[in-house]
Amino acid sequence: MDPRTLRRREYSWFAAILGISSPLVLSVCGALWRSPYPISETVSLLTDDLFASPLSFFDSTTRSWYRPLFHLTWWGFWRATGSLDAVLFWFTCVEVTAVALLLVLFMWHLRPRTLIEGAAATFAVAVLAGTPGFRENLEIPMLMTLVGMPLALIVWMLLQRDHRPWHGPAIVVLMLIAVGFKEQGLIIAPLVVAAWWTGAPGARRGTTAAVVAAATVYLAMRLATSGSWATFEQDVGLGFERLSAREASERFGAAPLWMYLYNAASTIANILFSEPTDGRFGILWNLSQGEFNAWEINHVLSSTVLTGLVSWWGLRALKDDIGRPWSAQSRLFIAAVLVIAASGALGFNYSRDRLGGMAVVFYAIAAYFAVRAAADLALRASRPGMIAAGMALLLLGGAWQIRAIGTVHDVRLKAARAHREWITDLHERRTDFARESNYLQILEALSEQGLDPASAQPIRYPRWLRAWIGGR
């Protein structure tokens, strides 16, 4: 097939996948767009950032986390517009654009060429949208990881392309931007190393060295100021329990390594199996208490089956490449494994679903290849085998599609919670911060968007449907 025909076919399939996925993409973006900024996060954040010196954002000794570009974005919008409404508008634009860009780039990256590949791509979009790592990052104004996710995907796309002189500097800059928004941006470093090690066309030694050097300098800078960190910055889950940061410090403060390993393993397990959540095996606990929630069982089963499928595909790709140069599929599998492991390592202090955000992009790409490989194999099987495999993929796709719909519902529920907080907490905030004029000014200026009932209108699904999509 000549390149022009091939390209035309890619565009056609991309348009088809985009068309099928557009209701999901638009619903997620629309729900996010209408979400109010929560009283609990935003007012303090704005009070701290709008009137601060931009240089202070780069000082790694003042806070245990380091997100200079996130804070600089608030400050920059404020300086550029001088209006709080405009700041919120532009910030929402950034957040919604990051989500839309990620989903569209994801489909563009897959660029199917056949009917089977197109079907696998629709499956993969549901996987990306249905993972806890994606879902838990859809929260205004906490867009730090959401910015990093498309940047990591762009880096991966550049690494797969034929090398151009600007690719190397672009990759380094993209990593610095991602890291500037959140530490999780560091996962771009193992991504580049994996690509270089497996001979990706766009990965050069110089680029890899620059990325590793930048990551090393960053880590050295952060570790040099780690003396001011608490042993545990936030609450942690352990088994069926939840421990406050203070309790965790009392129990594990003398030898926190095992707890750090547990946290890292929890984040990895959450990406692969959707359990535990925040380090706590809540679904298992509910089951042990005889509480069967359809959405919980769906989450664990669909993740476990898909992880099994991805493992089968990945190991088969590695086996096929023994004695040969790495194929694109083996490269992706190795990169996905490294990125998932790195996400776990970066979540050593406490485990949260959102910490898997960068990794789920690569998990979903791997799901695309795994489903495509399973479908190809099924087509060569006997008729009963083909029907059985087809039905299994239908069920698995349905399970993930329900999860994707649940993500839209979850964004709306978060918006409703934020609206409720404004209604109930406004008096308390006015009282507690009565002597802080900047805080009060921002609080009053933001109150209208938080109190507006139109900002939060969750759809009242029937109870049976909520049981499947997870209407907490």
């Binding site: 499956f123 479908a375 719909i405 609206h419 409720r420 209604i423 009932p453 009242r460 699904y461």
Partner: protein, 157 residues
């Protein structure tokens, strides 16, 4: 095979598209709590967003409202302020909401809200009411009279 894999995505797109465009309005289950029909019901049933919607729509949160309840008023019809009703219902969210929208605690209808909360043993609500060291914290509570059962009746018109 491709159709089987793509079917959930196509079905999902149709469902989401139909819901978002308003073509499909999922009906809530019969056992779901219906939206409260009045401010008083919303407060008593803990539907704080619904209660807020009434006030946002123009209902004055300082004006007493008609109310009758087998437990809270002994089935007597009384005029009670939304704040006292929220206290009697042990709805801390409704109390917070009413304070947020600017309910005046110095009004005769509201001034004994903290007293009622104390009498009912709702320490969490007392804390909300006196948090700002405002009028509620300076009120001298009347001695509870035994014949008023339930306690709300002692503080209403």
């Amino acid at each position: 095979m491709a159709c089987l894999i793509a079917t959930p995505a196509i079905a999902g797109a149709l469902v989401i598209g139909a819901i978002e465009s308003g073509l499909l309005r999922p009906a809530p289950s019969d056992d779901d709590e219906p939206p409260a029909a009045s401010l008083a019901t919303a407060i008593v049933e803990g539907q704080v967003e619904r209660a807020y919607a009434f006030i946002r729509a123009g209902q004055d949160p300082n004006q007493p409202i008609e109310f009758q309840h087998p437990d809270l008023t002994g089935d007597r019809q009384v005029m009670v302020s939304p704040l006292l009703l929220a206290v009697a219902s042990h709805s801390d969210n409704a109390v917070s909401m009413l304070l947020s929208v600017g309910v005046r605690r110095d009004l005769a209808n509201n001034r004994f809200a903290a007293c009622l909360a104390t009498q009912l043993g709702y320490e969490d609500i007392v804390q909300i009411l006196v948090r700002d060291d405002g009028p509620a914290s300076k009120v001298e509570c009347p001695q509870p009279e035994r014949e008023f059962v339930p306690p709300l009746l002692a503080f209403v018109e």
